[in-house]
Symmetry: C2
Subunit: 152 residues, 2 copies
């Protein structure tokens, strides 16, 4: 069996960790986790979204998102109101406080990202992103844990 420390999953894990190590301290200073930050960023780009759509955008599973939204709402960083047309749906948006918090974190975050880009090289970075996207595409068709399939 191949040396697992050289396997693709490990390479991806280590690379991502190397990147996130740079951001976490700054986020932490502002009382945010990586996932909470992802949600705020996703919300900043739009007026309001449904929870399910937000889960897709922020790449979080429903249960994680449910918990985090509960906490972010308690901290008044986001707002929620149920859709009138469909009482099941809930529309989420970032609050003024949330926007303010983002503004205070963004500069450092941008600087870190710029430094990473500078170190690794902008061209190589773009290339890497392309390959990662291609990898994702390659496996998208393959699925992995679908439902509504023809199996069984």
């Amino acid at each position: 069996m191949r040396d697992f420390s050289r396997s693709l999953p490990m390479s991806l894990l280590r690379a991502r960790e190397a990147v996130m190590r740079q951001f976490r301290p700054s986020l932490r200073e502002h009382g945010l986790t990586e996932q909470q930050w992802r949600i705020l960023r996703a919300l900043a780009a739009i007026e309001a979204v449904e929870v399910t759509e937000l889960a897709r955008t922020a790449f979080l599973l429903g249960p994680s998102l449910s918990r985090i939204l509960r906490d972010l709402e308690a901290r008044h960083l986001i707002e929620r109101k149920t859709a009138k047309a469909d009482q099941r749906r809930s529309m989420v948006s970032i609050s003024k406080e949330g926007v303010k918090l983002m503004a205070s974190v963004a500069p450092t975050s941008e600087a870190i990202y710029a430094e990473i880009t500078r170190r690794f090289g902008a061209r190589k970075l773009a290339e890497l992103q392309d390959m990662l996207g291609a990898l994702e595409q390659s496996l998208a068709e393959l699925g992995g844990a679908e439902e509504a399939s023809s199996e069984e």
Copy 2:
């Protein structure tokens, strides 16, 4: 601020998830999590290791490893004995049962890896791994959350 869904951390996260999605169902059938599997694989390559070294190899934080080792030991998949020279250290090794379990999982796991390689292309895969390693290197010097530094 740049569209965060195209940021490096998100690209890495999505790519890794796309890969792990392929493996998880098979591991699950054998009652193993991704992390438990990593530990068994790391142990399979050697006689015995200290916990700290294992944490480095399997890329797990100490507390996670502590818990998982406790559980794997209870399931008799690993064995532990304190080093005679240094009572603080504990030497971990895989058990016969552990080896047997690995043997039952490995074929499927190998097949999945082969399929991923086939889909994405062996050459591209090697190239991607190189880039991921390079990225890691770029950021290694930068650190991120070190101690014993000259800051403060």
